[in-house]
Subunit: 389 residues, 2 copies
């Protein structure tokens, strides 16, 4: 019996197979809403522009976990909890120090998050409270994991977290070994806000599917990190940066307009453009574009930003396609001193807020997530002894 080649199976014969579950509505949610026509993104009632202008990342975490903004006592309480839980258990630090320099950052993040589950308090009897505590633990510790790994693999001393300052401030401090300026902190904070939540994407869906077996939040987030790691999901901002760095290697002759046209002519993809949902400018790309511009003006290093604008204009002229969130986040992250292969980890350290919010929502009104598969193989084959095969 030859191996069956699934490529040859015409799924039009099986019209009821919902490949990729496209268009199937699986849940109701209060966490976010995307209007792809208008280019609107809403987190739990608030437009992303409102949040970008007014909120901190920590306020957004509270909003996603509670469907309302915190009052000052609640916000202070959350900030204190996050600050007090930033340090990693020693075995997790030992693991990070022992990793190979070439280990994939997202694989290390997946393992380390899975490992911190071992160090949680015993169940209190209030499962929802415990889940909320787990969400805080992961949000507090993921930045420490990423910064520690980034430094360990470069042979630098690991920087212990501060017990003060925002998540954004503390992360840049742990990563770069020096306290960031106000502008860098604000930019990092805005990046964390913009990536916190985005509807029913593949990692959020994975998180809810794992939650639906009544498994714990660490299992669900570990699975979500694994899903985000895939090139079809996270990782596009790394690809954008690599594209720009390729150009930078030949900076003197770099011509972004010609580069874009050449790539399009040879049917190569320009990374960071187009989105399944947005039919207009992704609102996050709009906000990141502004950040990228002011950062480049502030530092005087305007080259990457200007190239980005040329590519954007060429793509609009040639293909009428707008950039997505990954396009400008690449240069913004890069200017903050973050290495390109860590970009997906930065995405994860923000998105953990959305994942855990969806976990809480799924857990509050659960049904086991289990679609069906159509069997298209053979049946009732007779056994042939191994020596006769």
């Amino acid at each position: 019996m030859a191996q069956q080649n699934l490529d040859n199976i015409d799924t039009t014969e099986h019209p009821y197979i919902n490949k990729g579950l496209e268009g199937i509505v699986a849940f109701s949610t209060t966490k976010s809403f995307i209007d792809g026509q208008k280019g609107d993104l809403i987190y739990a009632g608030y437009n992303i522009d409102t949040l970008a202008e007014n909120a901190t990342f920590e306020e957004v975490c509270f909003l996603l976990w509670n469907d309302r903004l915190p009052n000052s006592t609640e916000l202070e309480e959350l900030n204190n909890s996050l600050k007090s839980q930033r340090s990693l258990p020693q075995p997790v630090l030992d693991y990070i120090k022992s990793t190979n320099k070439k280990a994939e950052p997202m694989a290390v993040l997946r393992t380390a998050v899975s490992m911190i589950a071992d160090f949680q308090d015993a169940p209190s009897g209030d499962a929802e409270k415990d889940n909320r505590d787990d969400a805080i633990s992961m949000t507090a510790q993921m930045p420490t994991i990423i910064a520690a790994f980034a430094r360990a693999r470069s042979g630098k001393e690991i920087v212990a977290p501060l017990d003060n300052g925002s998540t954004a401030f503390n992360f840049l401090y742990m990563l770069n070994g020096e306290k960031p300026g106000e502008e860098a902190e604000k930019t990092m904070d805005l990046c964390l806000i913009l990536h916190a939540e985005h509807g029913m994407n593949a990692s959020t869906f994975t998180c809810r599917a794992i939650c639906s077996t009544e498994s714990d939040m660490f299992s669900a987030v570990t699975g979500a990190i694994g899903a985000l790691k895939g090139p079809l999901h996270g990782g596009a901002n790394t690809a954008v940066m690599n594209m720009l760095l390729e150009m930078d290697a030949n900076a003197e002759t770099a011509d972004p307009v010609q580069f874009t046209k050449d790539r399009l002519a040879s049917k190569k993809k320009i990374m960071g453009f187009g989105h399944r949902v947005y039919k207009t400018f992704d609102p996050r790309a709009r906000l990141l574009r502004g950040m990228s511009k002011s950062l480049s003006e502030e530092t005087g290093q305007t080259e990457l930003y200007e190239w980005s604008e040329s590519i954007l204009k060429t793509m609009k002229d040639e293909k009428n396609i707008d950039p997505n969130v990954d396009f400008f986040s690449a240069t913004v992250y890069y200017s903050l001193g973050i290495e390109p292969d860590l970009f997906t980890c930065i995405f994860a350290m923000s998105r953990v807020s959305g994942w855990t919010a969806h976990y809480l929502e799924q857990d509050a009104n659960n049904r086991l997530v289990r679609p069906r598969a159509l069997y298209i193989g053979e049946k009732n084959l007779d056994w042939t002894p191994v020596e006769e095969r």
Copy 2:
């Protein structure tokens, strides 16, 4: 704004929400087929009874990965690959030794499997071959992880794997520190065959969803372990065993018939009965029942087996419900010297063959798995400064 209680939302208002994706066909597969009416289970063409009578677990792995049985050269090659990869990298062993005695076995398995990803060879350029190698690595190393953890937490010396003998033989040897007899090996092997694959369950679905982002096989299996960890999925056999051990604590007065009737009268669940798909005797339960009987006769310890039979008869008489795979696997595992809280890990060390087979199948004909969610929250709320909330 008060937190929205999802319990109060009537999903009949949103009839197009497919809660739990129940009845939605998401994939085609050649891996397994379940006929719940007849009580049939087929792996890639072969009835489970045919496989139970003739195959080894390693042959079943090959079958699931290739949709055909191996010839003798192929089988020998697979056996050699599995044997040569049983040892764990030192950092994984160090992690297992460092775990808290109270760490959850499935959490440790999840972390250790995630960690072994760091020790794989660099991509060869043949992604399918690399995936097949990853499947072999995980199948070879998961038994070592479980046995090492079981011994480390009891303060026993970790037993290094043999470079010979079947997966079943080697696992029992590493777990118990002595080579198992022929009957024990055969029983363990049969258990591995019976749990290898079972259609589109929640962990297999999680595995395929993660694969669909083009993420790696370690990410997908790590996520699947997280899903299996949930009490609604794996874990029921542990609950069966705990129920029987509770009875055993009062063995002199134990009355399984009355116990069952009392539990039913007080609306408590009898663990290990009923199945969403099987409307008759689960074929795996039938095969495990035979094993449980012969093991009890061989060892002379017939009490647990006899209680099981009494519970089964009472459940049939009172509720007309048949046992599922978990009911008899509990006593079988227990008689092999496996502690009840490890039962879900044993399930995982078998099911990794099915998970990885589904990964290969998804990867060969992929589409990103991404259903939608219906937004039921508010929109365009105005910002209120924190001091005014």
